[in-house]
């Protein structure tokens, strides 16, 4: 696309006019300032690419002389904030949690209506306030915790940007992106008002063996070919330590075993999820001649097609 056209300026436009044109488009089409506008991103990217080219007098002159074209000016793939802003666990809006309603909250508006009956909300104070009191601001932090601490619960101390520390109790079964509210640990109140709350958004560091899916724990368990063919009892790690599991005779890769109640404790129901074990058959480090000969003979009489019935 012609960069002048993308910015809506004439070829003779001054640098100031180009900058002004870009600012105007950015104002109207920056995806983060216009999150509901689906086409904003395309317009903004086109204008940005054009501006990147035209803001540099040398590049602009080379483009005007036909030495370079407008392509190759695209910026590396960029993610806009609006793509993340709505995700659960966004640490930048954690101050508005769901434990209890803020009286200024739109949800509280709904719940309030039925009991209100024409009077102002919270009329228990009796009369207008003469002194100014205000609750302190809520403060937001984020921290990363090891997988096991999130699963089993832990207490961690974080160092705040202001130099102080905060003890954070990570409840058992904490999920990635979950926010923990520490009542009264936010900024101090004004005029004797209560302190605000601190909100700590937890980011769970992945574990090399365990994965989590809701309240279930998932692992892939390698088994040898003889264990798979003959069946065996083998040791499998769980979040409580190793347990013996039975690999059934004739097991295949991808087959799932389930250890009931070995998953993560659900903080609401108090029940534990399961551990799911996906079997993964692993060949011996080398194929020795004995195995090779055996397989060749076996194939003559017992060949089978595991892909039968597979339709693309």
């Amino acid at each position: 696309m012609d960069p002048y056209e993308a910015l809506g300026v004439r070829k003779t436009a001054t640098d100031a006019e180009i900058r002004k044109a870009y600012r105007k488009i950015a104002k109207e089409s920056h995806p983060d300032l216009n999150p509901d506008d689906k086409d904003a991103e395309a317009r903004f990217k086109a204008a940005s690419a054009a501006y990147d080219l035209l803001k540099d007098p040398e590049m602009r002159a080379r483009y005007d002389r036909g030495e370079i074209d407008a392509s190759g000016q695209e910026r590396p793939e960029r993610h806009f904030y609006r793509e993340y802003a709505d995700a659960t666990g966004n640490p930048y809006q954690a101050g508005r949690g769901f434990e209890g309603f803020d009286p200024s909250d739109i949800f509280a508006d709904i719940l309030r209506q039925r009991t209100e009956g024409g009077f102002g909300f919270g009329g228990t104070n009796g009369g207008p306030r003469t002194t100014f009191r205000a609750r302190g601001p809520d403060l937001r932090y984020s921290m990363e915790v090891p997988f096991m601490d999130a699963v089993k619960g832990a207490t961690t101390r974080i160092t705040l940007p202001t130099g102080g520390t905060l003890d954070v109790k990570i409840p058992e079964g904490t999920k990635d992106g979950q926010t923990i509210r520490l009542r009264g640990k936010g900024g101090p109140g004004i005029g004797g008002g209560p302190a605000g709350d601190a909100y700590v958004t937890i980011s769970v560091h992945p574990h090399p063996v365990f994965r989590r899916e809701g309240d279930d724990i998932l692992i892939a368990l390698p088994v040898s070919i003889d264990e798979a063919v003959l069946g065996d009892k083998v040791e499998a790690p769980t979040i409580d330590g190793p347990v013996k599991v039975t690999v059934p005779k004739g097991a295949s890769s991808g087959q799932m075993l389930r250890l009931r109640g070995r998953g993560v404790k659900n903080p609401r129901t108090g029940k534990r999820g399961d551990q799911k074990i996906e079997l993964k058959i692993v060949m011996p480090p080398g194929i020795d001649s004995e195995l090779e000969t055996f397989m060749k003979n076996w194939r003559k009489k017992h060949a089978y097609n595991p892909r039968r019935g597979m339709k693309a």
Binding site: Y22, H30, P35, D37, R75, R78, Y84, Q93, E144
Partner: protein, 122 residues
């Protein structure tokens, strides 16, 4: 997806970001990296936020105070949008009669043009 970046990776990745700017944004707490033993660590969401902060500083010449106000408004907007969506889900789960009554109320009381989200050119 959930990648981690150190200060130098972030400065490398974002064209308009200088060490001075990054230090300024962190000090203003408009971006909040996670403190770790190996220094502050940034996530994808922080990178996207830094891009926006750079746009606002560079192209709109925003000073610290203006930047804090704009970011605070953007955060409040996203929090509200999220809650509105949750409320819409709650309403969607209601019987049709209730939904119709709500829809009627919305039509009668909403005379703005809030549905497109487009900024009107002046």
């Amino acid at each position: 997806m959930n990648r981690r970046y150190h200060e130098e990776d972030v400065i490398e990745a974002i064209e308009l970001l200088t060490p001075g700017r990054l230090e300024r944004f962190v000090r203003m707490q408009v971006v909040a990296p996670m403190p770790t033993d190996a220094g502050p660590v940034f996530r994808d969401i922080d990178l996207a936020r830094l891009e926006l902060l750079c746009d606002l500083s560079e192209h709109f010449d925003m000073e610290d105070d203006a930047l804090e106000i704009v970011m605070s408004l953007i955060d409040q907007m996203h929090a509200l949008r999220r809650r509105l969506r949750i409320m819409a889900r709650a309403i969607a789960a209601e019987p049709e009669e209730v939904r119709l009554r709500i829809a009627r109320f919305l039509c009668e009381n909403d005379d703005g043009e809030a549905d497109t989200g487009h900024t009107r050119p002046d």
